[in-house]
Symmetry: C2
Subunit: 381 residues, 2 copies
């Protein structure tokens, strides 16, 4: 919640703190494995109105978490991951909406996951943590909604695998959301995407520091594997064009060294991104998140007919894609648009011309930002 400091920067939600919500009973997951309860870390911004009609859920992507906006301390180097979109007067306007975001189950930033202690064994779950799916995440978010007294979300919003959660919300709980905003996402990922995920997983699992996922009591951990996984991921989040614009073939020292140092700018950029990430993300969580991505395919239970999977949806949809996004290409969003239209659902769609690739969904692209703002302004609360 905003504290006094936030008043000095009116466009920010200010200083925020996470909250925690615990489910005590045993939960059966999509895999049919069970969890003896769990805790979900979440943040909220803005104020829930009296009739609880202004709640907006943000679903985070693969490496995101519940810290969407604001800062945890006044000296925080960085605000939350979508601070440019969430705050007073911003597209996701905290003067209007009560914004909620939770760390996905299996995550590594406060929710129960591989790096938290299993009360049964008094040890971190590690590789014993069960596979979680987009369905499981949405179910846990529904329990959080119950806990917060939110019967129906004004909107559920997410990009990438966050967008898959938006779609799953609209399928599994058609009465519990009025609007759905699915950005740079897909109704299922392609074989190429699974292949990239598999290389990332193998990089982690083949790192001797991984030790079968048991690395929490060791000094070693799969730092190299996680670095490689993130370097690879990062390439797929950017377009070829934006890499050309950003790095071209520029040399760090202006000349070839004829050795294996990071000679080209793009090499040092990737190494830095990978290594930084490897220092604050859990390798077991990374594995789980990529699996959830691979598995999501709501049409599979409907003879691969997506429009059948979407037939009971009631939410009004906005889909957004980006021209240069080759990880979740516009065609993937358009499959959802077509399936929604086929069953006469309310859907708006915008393909935004942007060179930044998949990462576009996080960026200050005016047409995209204005579109999201306009869509959410017309949401009645």
């Amino acid at each position: 919640m905003p504290s006094k400091e936030s008043k000095t920067t009116p466009e920010s939600v200010g200083i925020v703190s996470p909250s925690y919500f615990t489910v005590e009973e045993t939960i059966t997951l999509a895999s049919q494995q069970t969890l003896d309860g769990y805790t979900i870390a979440y943040e909220t911004y803005g104020t829930l109105n009296e009739n609880k009609s202004n709640a907006l859920l943000i679903c985070h992507a693969l490496s995101g978490n519940h810290h969407v906006a604001g800062r945890h301390t006044p000296n925080d180097a960085k605000p939350g991951w979508w601070d440019n979109f969430v705050g007073p007067g911003k597209p996701i306007d905290t003067d209007k909406f009560f914004v909620v975001c939770s760390n996905n189950l299996g995550g590594c930033h406060g929710s129960t996951g591989p790096n938290t202690v299993n009360l049964k064994t008094s040890l971190p779950y590690g590789p014993e943590f069960p596979i979680v799916t987009v369905e499981d995440w949405v179910n846990s978010q529904a329990r959080l909604a119950d806990h917060l007294g939110i019967e129906q979300w004004a909107a559920v919003v997410g990009g990438s695998i966050g967008g898959m959660q938006v779609l799953q919300w609209s399928i599994a709980y058609p009465d519990r959301l009025r609007n759905a905003v699915m950005i740079a996402s897909a109704p299922k990922i392609s074989a190429q995407n699974i292949a990239f995920n598999e290389v990332a997983r193998q990089a982690i699992m083949r790192d001797p520091g991984f030790n079968g996922g048991h690395f929490y009591s060791s000094k070693d951990y799969p730092k190299q594997g996680l670095t490689l996984a993130r370097m690879l991921g990062h390439i797929t989040y950017l377009s070829d064009d934006v890499m050309r614009l950003k790095f071209g073939r520029e040399l760090r020292e202006g000349k070839l060294n004829f050795d294996f140092s990071a000679e080209f700018q793009v090499e040092s950029y990737l190494r830095y991104q990978g290594e930084t990430f490897s220092e604050h993300f859990d390798a077991n969580t990374y594995l789980l998140m990529t699996k959830a991505l691979d598995y999501f395919d709501p049409a599979a239970a409907h003879n691969h007919d997506l429009s059948l999977a979407l037939q009971h949806i009631k939410a009004k949809f906005l889909l957004v894609s980006f021209t240069s996004d080759w990880r979740f290409s516009p065609e993937r969003s358009e499959e959802v648009v077509d399936a929604l239209l086929k069953t006469n659902k309310a859907v708006s769609y915008a393909k935004i011309d942007a060179p930044q690739g998949h990462d576009s969904f996080l960026l200050d692209i005016p047409r995209y930002k204005n579109l999201l703002k306009a869509f959410l302004q017309q949401v009645k609360v």
Copy 2:
């Protein structure tokens, strides 16, 4: 050279053996580092005619070698890597041409490279082997041509980084080739390509088995890193479309296992490809080949004006690209076409509609094969 056995399969060059050519003097490389002589492994098919006008050089790609066609023994499981294109009556017709291909300097299949012994130290070169470039390869191929008494190639042909060698031949030795066939290639690689190469290199160099490149006397070697590098490479050689056609989201056991086994067909395919490769390719060579790819940029010395770099070319060019090749996209070939046209060179260009991605250049795609055949049929010898 074909032996008797070849007569039983008239469309094959039959049983072949590599030859070796040694340069004894000290050579200065593009890096200004030196090599105290080197040996080049090569194969030839067909017969050099009396006036030595029918010689055709094939330049191999990153993981290729000099064994282009035929088999080394009657029981060889597989023929050379381009056996479908090279042989009597095939597009590269050994009834007409005397075909030569050499293993690139720094390679791991018979030419001097990291896994061969440095006579100075009596140990394998390992990481002490100098960085080699496309220019160095072409220079060594020119020495081989001298050795074979070939003053001028009827044609120089290559795909991918082999195509870069074709371009370099036409720039460095304009009088020594009459025709140049550059397939699925580029005048330089993009930042995205460098980025993929860098992830592959880091996968190898961060593998504890790499040991700074000194692994020849150890039981261990960077098997995991090389596996990852190849898995990643493989994704970029295929198109998203062909992966969808080939694997879709098919499950190996028809159901989700909710674990980290290879559940999707594409996962087991990639693991198999990566692991097989890691058993017969040298990690230090892989590093060298990717560096040669990164460095090639003949326009750099001409103020980044490619047409200036190509101004003295005399060869007649054929360029071929494939619509679904995103590693070396048609636009990259078209940069060469445009630069050649700008300086009034003879150039033909075909963009072949094929879903198979970069790998297309190795495949039996009729329009492509017929095109290559027709172009080489009109070559006068």
